[in-house]
Symmetry: C2
Subunit: 306 residues, 2 copies
């Protein structure tokens, strides 16, 4: 099932949302705004900026409206996204002028219950009006499927269960689906089986893989995905959301590490590594720990500078 | 050039030598001995235990003779190796009953000059009597080629330059060649080109890939190697020799991360992950920093326990 690697990869930067949501320390609003601007300067075109969720549940992102207000409209050809759990969240996102609306569910019933206190079916029912509203307002709609490889409570998740949830998200009108190995349990073995199960139902244009580097497999999982024709990935600048010396550090795939891989494979992505590293570096003082990205922590290679 | 993955992988554990040589703090002799015994218990069959080098140059391994004495002969079917820079080192290794003798050179002239104060040709001339002596004593002979992807001084290294050094090491009688991306500069792109250049001169049975995880590419590079038929890898328990929060941390590929990958690909290796993690954990107090291995730092997955 291996094929020529894609010539171009589309990266969705999720550091400001998924990364910062999983940091212990709150980051000041102005630092978030500067971070997003630095990401734009590094060439990122699709940035999930924040979440319109209950501030008591996710205090790290309680300033979503202020962040969007300070940023202003996304520059031409760029997209700002926001995660939205319900219709109230959608109202906030629409008022903020967000370009892409994301809803989220899981492939594991137990994880869904513990994470959003609803079954998968209930969570999808809850998203139906959000999806209608987002699409009615002309927004791009993204669906997240978490625990797509394994669940911390249930163990391995069958690819067929993921395909089932993906189909229901497509039925809700999702333009793209981000399929996530939330606990970083997968290797290229599990990931290849998952992708092979998904592609008959979901064209590669609409499939986004979302890896966590908990066990150091994220870059290898990207490589396995590329070989199956996948060309869209989520990544978090610096690997934000994880800490390199915390037990169970569960950071997203670091955008720097993804970019370094793609450069070595001569795959286009439009991102400049050194400005990206600078964007991430601006967060170190705020999150209070070194960044998890290996490429960020390593010396620049003169011959790989762009 | 992609093919079915190998069914079995042979791991050479280099943590006690390459790992500890690159740790700042000296590790007590008894801790090294306990480490090697724990590695044996975890299933490692081929362990590079130490170096017979000048103690003023590599004080971390000055106790090589004591370590081998305390260990006694390798159990049946297991091999203890040692790095040897010259005939004097060989004498020490032979007296210690070492089963495998390793010599080392580089693919970069500048690196060779700075590392061993000799050109590549001079270093090979110096190894000729060591190789003769080792083979005359019935020992397995390993050659290391460092900076096989890039050199910190020269930048990228042409695969042809690596092939040239490999051929000269084979002429010296090396049974196996460990080809190393010493500064962790390579991605699966560079690594695949290197392996494709090497395989016509060196059967996969004799080729060992030696990756450093400096930029988080080591596991992906293993995957790319496996797809080209490579089935021998060096790895360092815990990722010893690197530190997850030091700038420029240059640890070896962690044995735990390699094992986790191979388990996910259903490739046999004979190593048990939890006892391996226990072996590495015994070193944490001595090296004074968390281990670089992501798998070591992550919670065990119940469904992946062996």
């Amino acid at each position: 099932m291996s094929q020529a690697l894609p010539r171009r990869v589309l990266v969705t930067e999720v550091g400001p949302r998924d990364g910062l949501q999983n940091e212990r320390l709150p980051v000041p609003t102005e630092a978030k705004v500067a971070f997003v601007r630095a990401l734009l300067a590094a060439g990122l075109r699709d940035i999930e900026v924040s979440s319109f969720v209950r501030p008591d549940l996710v205090p790290q992102l309680a300033d979503a409206a202020e962040v969007f207000r300070a940023l202003g409209p996304a520059p031409a050809g760029r997209t700002y996204g926001a995660l939205v759990p319900n219709e109230r969240g959608l109202e906030g996102a629409l008022a903020a002028g967000v370009g892409k609306i994301s809803v989220f569910t899981a492939a594991s019933e137990t994880f869904s219950q513990r994470n959003v206190n609803a079954s998968i079916a209930e969570s999808l029912t809850r998203f139906a009006p959000v999806a209608r509203g987002a699409r009615g307002a002309g927004k791009t709609l993204r669906g997240y499927v978490s625990t797509a490889v394994a669940c911390p409570f249930e163990g391995p998740i069958a690819p067929a269960a993921v395909v089932d949830v993906v189909k229901r998200l497509l039925d809700l009108g999702c333009d793209e689906i981000s399929v996530g190995d939330t606990i970083g349990a997968g290797t290229p073995g599990e990931v290849a089986r998952l992708i092979e199960a998904l592609l008959p139902s979901l064209r590669a244009e609409r499939l986004v893989l979302h890896f966590h580097d908990t066990r150091g497999m994220a870059v290898a999982n990207v490589l396995a995905s590329l070989r199956l024709g996948v060309f869209r990935f989520d990544a978090s600048a610096g690997g934000l959301g994880g800490c390199p010396f915390a037990h169970g550090a569960a950071g997203n795939l670091a955008t720097e590490d993804l970019v370094f891989l793609l450069d070595g494979l001569n795959i286009e992505h439009g991102i400049d590594l050194e400005p990206l590293k600078a964007a991430s570096a601006g967060l170190i003082a705020h999150v209070g720990h070194p960044l998890a990205s290996r490429v960020h922590g390593a010396p620049a290679l003169a011959h790989r500078a762009r």
